[in-house]
């Protein structure tokens, strides 16, 4: 049996970026087609994960392990569980759509843009596959380079500020994780995540490590108060960059909590769970209000991302309270499951929202809400999609946005009704800022003469938005395949939560 599926998934887009670069600026269309081909191939390969992965079996599957650095006992170790599979499929799916989305939009050095996107895609898949902490870190950090360039070259007017802030912020967060990982390595003699999970650690050690991990992943998620890079990065990034950032990159923070914080420092995580829960609630409520007053569409969606990702961290850490304090594993499972569904769903919804904004921006070259109004009159198809995604964004039942939020609220109700109350605020605030956005952009009379000249979406844009819409709808009415995929892995995580290391 072919057992290098994961390696193939990682390296196919990265190696595929080389011919794209070589195609050069002289033949932009060749570069575009090659990169589209690579993205489709990667997606096709990732589909093989579904039959190959046995959702009923716990633990890592499709494992690859080669000695990478012999004298340090570092392994090139790959493996996936249900959660990784779901995130990888999300990545490869979005990978195609950003390439299609950038087709004519990126006129300046398209080959470099496409190549950076492909490299980024490969590295993100690597993050989701790595079972060795050092390998994870390498992918985790290497990802910054293509993103730095994407924002810096093809971004908006304040792109340099935004991209530097993005890079330095994320680097700042993760370097302390590196120190923590080295510390763990010196204790355990390996970077293997599975071994690290069984390593006994004192409470004090766990506390320090917890904050090292928290800093790294909180910046990535991002959580309040280290979220400020996100609105800047989103606003200045080109559409494709925003989509990847929101749809996949933020998930890596949530994924990191599951892979590192939960198994390695469970006792400290329980002890400090209230910190994360508090920050998550602040994100849900306060950032929701911040989103309400934004004048820039992208900024609004960026803040709404922070609020939505608050549900992910809430779901993960509420599980600690449930398992440790009440022994309620069912509710804990629901919380974790909800957090995971929320991650995937937010990937589709935010990606779609940014794509919509991209469509508008390509026509009018402004992202300010006040410049629009009455768009539905000239772009009915676009209006259809925009309203649909807006509904998903505020968590309307029948869309994917509802499923995750509902599960998390339900499980937090078991932990503490007050937490559920604050979390449920999102249903009101989320609806407020999203619907108000729709009202100001789509409805009403056309007041800006430029809006009147806008044309409806073309076939390419139809494809991108249609694909997103299909995913959001399917996930909303039939989340069972997704939850089934992740069920065994989530159960396993819940069991890990109960293990005391001290």
């Amino acid at each position: 049996m072919f057992n290098h599926l994961l390696s193939l998934l990682i390296w196919l887009p990265i190696v595929g970026a080389v011919p794209v670069l070589l195609a050069g600026s002289g033949r932009p269309n060749t570069a575009r087609w090659i990169s589209l081909l690579m993205a489709i191939l990667t997606f096709a390969v990732s589909l093989f994960l579904i039959p190959q992965y046995h959702a009923d079996v716990a633990g890592m599957q499709l494992v690859e392990s080669h000695l990478w650095i012999e004298s340090l006992n570092v392994h090139y170790g790959l493996g996936v569980d249900g959660i990784s599979v779901a995130l990888i499929l999300l990545t490869t799916f979005v990978g195609i759509l950003v390439i299609v989305g950038a087709w004519e939009v990126i006129q300046d050095k398209p080959h470099q843009y496409m190549a950076a996107m492909l490299v980024l895609e490969g590295l993100m898949i690597g993050v989701f596959c790595a079972t060795d902490a050092l390998l994870f870190y390498v992918f985790f950090e290497a990802m910054l380079i293509p993103m730095f360039i994407l924002i810096g070259i093809w971004g908006g007017p304040r792109r340099v500020y935004a991209t530097l802030k993005f890079f330095i912020y994320t680097f700042f967060g993760s370097i302390f994780m590196l120190v923590g990982l080295i510390y763990l390595y010196l204790k355990a003699g390996t970077f293997d995540l599975h071994t690290l999970a069984t390593l006994p650690l004192s409470m004090q050690e766990q506390g320090w490590l917890f904050f090292a991990f928290l800093l790294a992943f909180a910046v990535k998620v991002p959580m309040v108060p280290v979220h400020t890079w996100l609105p800047d990065a989103h606003v200045e990034a080109p559409t494709g960059g925003s989509v990847v950032l929101a749809a996949v990159m933020l998930k890596i923070g949530g994924y990191g909590f599951l892979r590192f914080t939960l198994p390695i420092v469970p006792d400290a995580a329980h002890h400090f769970a209230w910190v994360v829960i508090l920050l998550s609630l602040i994100a849900v409520v306060y950032i929701g209000y911040v989103a309400l007053v934004q004048e820039d569409m992208k900024k609004l969606v960026a803040y709404s991302s922070v609020a939505h990702m608050g549900f992910v961290t809430l779901g993960v850490f509420i599980a600690f309270m449930l398992v440790r304090e009440q022994g309620n594993t069912d509710a804990a499972r629901l919380g974790l499951q909800g957090a995971m569904v929320q991650m995937i769903s937010h990937g589709f919804v935010s990606g779609a929202m940014f794509s919509c904004i991209g469509v508008l921006y390509d026509r009018l070259h402004t992202r300010l809400i006040k410049d629009y109004g009455g768009v539905i009159n000239v772009m009915p198809w676009f209006g259809f999609f925009y309203v649909f995604f807006a509904m998903a964004n505020c968590g309307l039942p029948g869309t994917s946005g509802f499923v995750g939020e509902f599960m998390v609220i339900l499980s937090s109700f078991s932990a503490n009704p007050w937490i559920a109350l604050f979390a449920a605020f999102t249903l009101i605030i989320g609806a407020a800022y999203t619907l108000w956005l729709v009202k100001r952009v789509l409805w009403g009379e056309v007041t800006n003469p430029h809006v009147a000249e806008m044309t409806d979406i073309n076939g390419r844009e139809w494809f991108v938005l249609g694909a997103f819409a299909a995913a959001v709808l399917v996930l909303g009415v039939w989340p069972e395949p997704l939850t089934h995929l992740m069920d065994t892995s989530v159960n396993q995580l819940v069991q890990v939560l109960a293990i005391h290391k001290v």
Binding site: L67, W68, I69, E70, S71, L72, K109, Q112, L134, Y137, V138, E141, A142, L144, I145, F148, I149, G152, I153, R159, V160, T163, L164, F167, I168, F171, F172, I175, F176, L178, V179, I182, Y183, Y185, L186
Partner: protein, 478 residues
Amino acid sequence: MPTINDILIMLPEFFLVTAACVLLLADAFMKPAERVYLHWLSIGVLIVTGYLVLRFQPGTVTAFNGMFIRDGLGTILKLFALLSTILVFIYGRPYMIDRKLYAGEFYTLMIFAVIGVMLLVSAGNLVMVYLGLELLTLSSYALVALNRDSSLSSEAAIKYFVLGALSSGMLLYGMSMVYGATGTLDLAQLHAAAPHSAMPHLLVFGLVFMVIGVAFKLGVAPFHMWIPDVYEGSPTAVTAFIGSASKLAAFGMAFRLLATGMGDFAQHWQMMLAALAVLSLAIGNVVAIVQSNLKRLLAYSTISHMGYLLLGLVNAGPEGYSAAMFYAVSYALMSTAAFGVILALSRAGFECENIDDFKGLNQRAPWMAFLMMLALFSLAGVPPMFGFFAKLLVLQAAIHANMLWLAIVGAVFAIIGLYYYLRVVKVMYFDKPEAGTEVRLQPDFTLRVALSLNALVLLALGLYWGPLLSWCKQAFVG
């Protein structure tokens, strides 16, 4: 009485000395047009020397009654010093031709400096350390002043000479005290005699001066004053040499003096090095932020990199030494690549040394911009580049030596340092080229090939650095 065996052990050095003399003589009879032969001959000589170094590999042997040690450490440092010198010759040739500095002296002085490096890293005796060091630095002073019509160059050379002489004096002073306390100049005997010395205070006092001498050569703060001026003032080809081969030599010297000689006094010099490391990290990284001249920026970056190297040495064990050596080797490769790009973009009357000269490089010479980006990300220590793993190893060595605080300081300054490397990437990739300026690449084919390989190796070694690390580790086993 020297035997034939002694000479065989030192064969690479003897060969290089002979070859240098022959080249010096040959140069006297060459017409300017024939100087290209000198170029290739010099490179050939270095390659042959590298082969001779590699030929007798395993084991530690001494020659001339312990004056000279041939071991794994010496082999690795010599090979990489030779390699970086070859790269400097290739990168520097068009630059030197454009500046009418393309003369035999460049080659012979450089080769004599390399001989100094080779003797220094193989020294088994305090006198030998001093001899190797002087051969290296005296050649370097002359190399820095090669562009004798430039006042900047002369100023740099004078500064370098005065401060270098001062540091040599300190080093000698320290050595004399150590000799007084132990009665021996031989490093192995010194190691054995030091713990039983009747005058431990004198010994520690001498140690302080030797650490200062080493710190001067490494260029760590607060003994870094000469670095920025020399980096800026020298012809760029010479800067590349000082930034690569010289650093390897300085590491070798630090190891020979501190570990081989004073290994049992590690608890004394550990703290000194830790303090020097913190200062270098702080001064190097913070001052680099405000530089507008790329050569000066790289000078301050060197200071911070040597601080990281000390993080490895602080460990005072095989793990730390191998990490520090790995760091030295990686730094040599990174800095040759970075200076190589500067050299490739310079031309007659244009130094291409201001950061603004790199504006919009990606639009005009995308390949060069890419290579420079690889070098810069490697210097910044971003994975998957080579430089990241070097940093990883020294941080690990520091943590293992129970200096977690030092590792955290190192990590914090890595973030600060990241900013100024990103600034150069930003200028190359995000800024528009200035109107009226142009980029003309040196047409030299070998330069392009070598530079591309040099920079790509930084990526390749980042993906697969295991063998190099094992090699470095072997040097310190047994």
